[in-house]
């Protein structure tokens, strides 16, 4: 490891020397073509010195300012802080500063001369869309950059390349304009012509060369950072799935530009954009990176990464580190951590509830896997809530996702109609939700986070489009299922889906079902009595200890239609005038115009699923 850093530093100097030489050559030739070689040289060096010093001392701030990010404290983003702290412990690096870029495109970068003065910046989109493990993989990658001193190196190189490009550009412009009658002390004769020619060639070739060099170096660094990330987390799948998610995201990171592109984890300039340059990218192809990470099976060292990479034929042919560094890293056999049993082959769905992952979460999930022999009642979902309601007894009731009608307080049993209730604004950032809406959540119906609402394919499950309840829509219980084909109430096979992911969970909305209550008495059956139910308006308190019963919702068996629902040409359901609750056998009229797929029984409160939308 230290060998790699030393080698990195050696190569920094080498490349810096090379570029300086190139710069000198350009400076001399341009100066000579203009008749004053020494001034040209001095100017070139002077300029690069000024730029280098500026970058050295202010580079971080310039980059961060250009990327429009904001430093955050632990209270604002506790989970992010935890993830970074874990990586700081695993790597032995001091804790970097953390910034958030308010952009919904997922990406991240790190900057800093030394590990002590380093900063890691992530976008809001990254926080919203990635799970904890994936976030950890990305952070590990960035801290790998910091440890390998890539940030220092790439910034220096960027400065030199920039100076070079600047001088060449100036010279070319000046020559172009000068050809149309400027005053230039050009040496007469063939010597002068040759000089001009040399200068022109250099001026055209050098920037290209410098850029290509920069890009090649940048790509190697990315591979090395990936390997370092695996070394930190011992879990390559985390980074692999994170890269996959970032790659599939179509959004454009607005604050990025060519100058800062190489600092990000994935090239923020996408091939679909106009400014994407086919000449060369600062990042290796994502598919290759993902393939290498997923193929790693022997261990977590740099050598294992290299072997996998060579076997796949990806990346540069020469090894990323010297033979000695590889041998040193081979001495330690670092076993990879096991993936959770259900994760293999699981398609990427909505984000997992963030507290669930991590080493500990996986271990606990494995224990739950061996234990859970029975299907568990799916609850309203583990999605963090946007706000909460304070009951008279003082306890806070979380607001389940979706559009519930009635919620029962777990402590005192009072029922609250959430459609009309006033929500207590959660105390500032003390909620600790890294959810984007945390600071502003709870006040009425807040607009959804920028990242979630704009995506038609709602990867942020559990955020159905907010509809104003005061408009009195009848389809109160209709939440758009986030993912087609999600079997919401079907009992999940125990071994398959053991983590508290329940990405299916947000598909079912409805009432908060406390699963334990001392008041679990069977509801009084009202045989053949028609209850007036209006699901569009407030139902008011329900009689009797009804809403405390916890039952799995009644799902019509596939292919059968116990409620007698017909579907019209557009696929909208046509309900009969009266419905029967399968649990308590109460009859109640169908609300007019109800087109939903499920609703609560007004007598016993159990959620009835009339049909499944596909």
């Amino acid at each position: 490891m230290w060998e790699a850093i030393r080698r990195n530093k050696r190569h920094s100097l080498l490349l810096v020397a090379l570029l300086t030489g190139l710069l000198a050559a350009v400076g001399v030739s341009v100066g000579a073509a203009w008749g004053a070689a020494d001034i040209g040289l001095a100017a070139a060096f002077g300029l690069s010195l000024v730029l280098a010093l500026t970058t050295w001392y202010g580079g971080d701030r310039i980059v961060l300012w250009a990327s429009d990010c904001r430093e955050v404290s632990r209270d604002e983003a506790p989970q992010l802080f935890n993830v970074v702290e874990e990586m700081s412990i695993a790597s032995g690096l001091p804790m970097p500063k953390i910034c958030i870029i308010e952009d919904s495109a997922p990406n991240a970068f790190a900057t800093g001369r030394t590990p002590k003065s380093a900063t890691v910046a992530v976008t809001r989109g990254l926080l919203d869309k990635l799970s904890r493990d994936e976030l950890q993989g990305v952070i590990a990658h960035e801290m790998g950059h910091i440890r390998n001193r890539d940030t220092l190196y790439l910034t220096l190189v960027g400065v030199l390349v920039g100076t070079l490009v600047l001088i060449c550009d100036l010279y070319l412009r000046a020559t172009w304009h000068g050809a149309h009658g400027g005053r230039r002390r050009v040496r007469a004769g063939p010597a002068g012509a040759v000089l001009v020619l040399v200068a022109l060639v250099l001026a055209i070739v050098a920037p290209i060369l410098a850029r290509l060099l920069h890009l090649a170096v940048s790509r190697r660094r990315e591979y090395l950072a990936d390997a370092t990330a695996v070394e930190f987390t011992r879990y390559p799948e985390g980074l692999a799935s994170a890269l996959e998610k970032i790659a599939e995201d179509r959004e454009v990171l607005e604050v990025a530009n060519r100058a800062t592109a190489h600092l990000y984890i994935v090239n923020p300039i996408k091939p679909t954009e106009e400014r994407y340059s086919a000449l060369g990218s600062t990042h290796p192809p994502i598919r290759e990176r993902i393939a290498i990470l997923r193929a790693m099976s022997t261990g977590a060292t740099l050598r294992d990464y290299e072997e996998t990479r060579m076997a796949l034929g990806a990346g540069p042919r020469r090894p990323l580190a010297s033979a000695r560094a590889l041998a040193e890293s081979a001495g330690k056999r670092l076993p990879l951590r096991e993936a959770p049993p259900a994760a293999k082959g699981r398609p990427l769905q909505g984000p997992d509830p963030k507290g669930a992952q991590g080493q500990f979460g996986r271990m606990a999930a494995a224990m739950a896997a061996s234990a859970a022999q029975v299907p568990r009642t799916p609850g309203p979902g583990e999605h963090p809530t946007e706000g909460s309601l304070v009951c008279e007894c003082g306890s806070r009731i979380p607001r389940p996702p979706g559009r519930p009608g009635i919620v029962e307080c777990m402590k005192c049993g009072k029922l609250h109609d959430l459609r009309r209730a006033i929500h207590a604004a959660p105390p500032g950032a003390a909620e600790g939700q890294t959810h984007a809406e945390a600071p502003g959540a709870g006040a009425g119906c807040p607009p959804p986070a920028a990242g979630s609402a704009l995506e038609p394919h709602a990867t942020r499950a559990g955020h159905p489009p907010r509809r104003d309840s005061s408009r009195g829509r009848t389809a109160v219980f209709e939440a758009k299922p986030p993912a087609a084909g999600v079997q919401a109430p079907a009992p999940e096979p125990p071994a398959g889906r053991v983590e508290p992911v329940s990405a299916a969970a947000p598909g079912r909305e409805g009432q908060d079902r406390p699963s334990a209550s001392e008041k679990a008495e069977p509801p009084i059956l009202q045989e053949r009595k028609m209850l007036k139910v209006d699901w569009a308006k407030s139902v008011g308190p329900v009689r009797g200890p009804t809403a405390t019963v916890s039952r799995p919702p009644a799902v019509p068996p596939a292919g059968q239609n116990p409620f007698g629902i017909r579907f019209d040409a557009r696929g909208e359901p046509i309900y009969p005038a009266e419905l029967v609750c399968p649990h308590c056998a109460a009859h109640f009229p169908t609300p007019e115009g109800f087109k939903g797929s499920r609703g609560p029984c007004p007598s016993c409160g159990a959620m009835i699923v009339f049909f499944e939308r596909t």
Binding site: I89, G92, A364, A368, H383, P500, S502, A516
Partner: protein, 198 residues
């Protein structure tokens, strides 16, 4: 070759100077290697201190968590009691070094794992804000312990490897540097938590 001032010296003296020079270089190398060992051993100890910090943090978090869920999870009394018991056991041996601490800390990890598994049945509780925060803190602390352990083991491996490679092993033998112990938490027992259906 023997020109200039060297010509005035006898061959014996030249040999002596050469030997002294060589000995000096060996000494410099010796000191450098030994300093390397000391540095790495310091890193090992630092790694251990880091684990200790995280373990203590976990001890502090647990009472809070148990209090928050006690009202709702009264049915799971035995799980909560297990945790409290394991915690007091762990706190008894806290600060006594790796050998003494591994057992109780592993038991605590196992108890917390069972608790976590049982929490699956209380989705309402999980969506409770306070409990969610605490769970996140707990998960983060467990992860931190795991990573601190990983880092510590890495440092131990580096140190152990370096004192075994020849020729540095000579220095290690002379100065008395011995291998350090790894910190392995055995895998939690695969006990099936009692999941009560309601």
């Amino acid at each position: 070759m023997l020109c200039g001032p060297l010509a005035a010296l006898s061959p014996g003296l030249i040999a002596l100077i050469a030997i002294c020079g060589f000995a000096f270089l060996v000494l410099v190398w010796f000191v450098a290697v030994r300093n390397g060992f000391v540095t790495r051993r310091m890193q090992v100890k630092n790694g251990w201190a880091q684990i200790d910090v995280q373990l203590k943090r976990r001890h502090d978090l647990i009472p809070n968590l148990v209090e928050s869920v006690k009202g709702y999870m009264g049915f799971e009394k035995e799980v909560l009691e297990n945790i409290t018991r394991a915690r007091s056991e762990a706190m008894k041996v806290s600060g006594q070094g790796a050998a003494a601490q591994v057992g109780p800390e592993a038991a605590l990890t196992a108890a917390l794992g069972r608790f976590y598994a049982v929490m699956e049945n209380y989705p309402d509780l999980k969506s409770n804000v306070n409990v969610g925060q605490l769970m996140e803190e707990l998960t983060a602390t467990e992860n931190r312990i795991a990573f601190a352990r990983q880092h510590y083991n890495d440092e131990v491996m580096r140190y152990n490897t370096s004192i075994q490679l020849f020729p540095a092993s000579i220095v290690a033998n002379i100065c008395g540097f011995t291998a350090e112990a790894f910190f392995e938490i055995q895998a939690p027992e695969r006990e099936v938590p009692k999941v009560s259906l309601r």
